[in-house]
Subunit: 200 residues, 2 copies
Amino acid sequence: MTESASSKPGSRHRILVAAATMLGENPAARLSVRSVAARAGVSTGSLRHHFPTQRVLEDAVLAGIYDLVAPDDPIHDTDTPARDRLVGCLRQILAPTGTGRQARAALRQTYETLIATEPTEETRQGYLALERTMQHRVEHWLAVLADEGALPHGDNAQRAKFLLTVVNGLTLERALPSAESVLVSENAALFAAVDAILGG
Amino acid sequence: MTESASSKPGSRHRILVAAATMLGENPAARLSVRSVAARAGVSTGSLRHHFPTQRVLEDAVLAGIYDLVAPDDPIHDTDTPARDRLVGCLRQILAPTGTGRQARAALRQTYETLIATEPTEETRQGYLALERTMQHRVEHWLAVLADEGALPHGDNAQRAKFLLTVVNGLTLERALPSAESVLVSENAALFAAVDAILGG
DNA sequence: GGTGTGCTATTACGGTGTACTAGTAAGGTG
DNA sequence: CACCTTACTAGTACACCGTAATAGCACACC
């Protein structure tokens, strides 16, 4: 879809892929102005022109990381490590939330239908159904990883529940104010959660 | 107990009170080397001699604050295992949320002041201060556990952030409909999160 | 031709944490 | 007394950070 855009060597795009790559290599990377600029082969001034502030850069990376790193369900892409795949899948769940105003709007939806007042039995069942599909989706991913030996056999239901709790926390935090961009800590949280599953 | 120590005008103590005072005046203060050194009337070199790294400084002042405020914190109950203690402490910050209608009311509060509309800068700063307090509290718990060897030394800030993300997820889930009692899966999630920290 | 306009590179400023060196005061030991 | 060791302090220096300001370049448009 960005074929015309990628045909142009636009440095904005290169900056984004550089930052996303760095984050992929090291989830706790700092994405400093100079390091990203150097990686992208541009100068800090150029970077600052496209992304006036660090927050803007990080949010942009966060918004675009899915298209750049996880185009579609990557659970079967055995080229990349299992943990990266699982993190990518979880991001898929987290993606529709968006950031900033969008995240608040998304939370507004669930708040008004489920929390503001005692939900009707119908909406309640609707949410529970959606939650179950999420649960099943995550469990499916875990089953795939377990089949290929990347995950010791165990209570995948409980594991999935834990992962969804983390995702819920990130969803809430996306709508809440934050001192810095959620990008880094969110990435770290996802990897920490996945490592807790895979390593334990 | 430090009466003899406080009788000596030792700069170490002055540094601690300076840092604590700054944190008292503004919970979001940065506690930079130069600022607390200037506040304490010492040089950066002197500060670095007593507190070789910034983390040591922050942990020291955090320990001082919380031991002075809450000396009977369950984190110090060395009779029970570390993971149980940490889970108990996390429960402590999860407790005021309540369950059911109460949890929805609690979430309603934060929703209306922070998410429903773009929050004012004042409320934003207020929330960020509160979040920082939580962060410091969890970091203090982790520092205590690290001191007694139950937790390998590492990036406690990131660990605390992860734990708070899980707590946020649980608070959200407390307000959402759930098929089973939240307490069971909640317990599992807390232990899973704590084990992810302690075991990794 | 001019003249904007978008993009880039360079440089600079103030901030951070940390490392290093020199100097000083105290306290023991010959 | 002299001497050395130790704890402490100050000052400076380094590398990095985010951001702002400036100047140069290419290209479209009138």
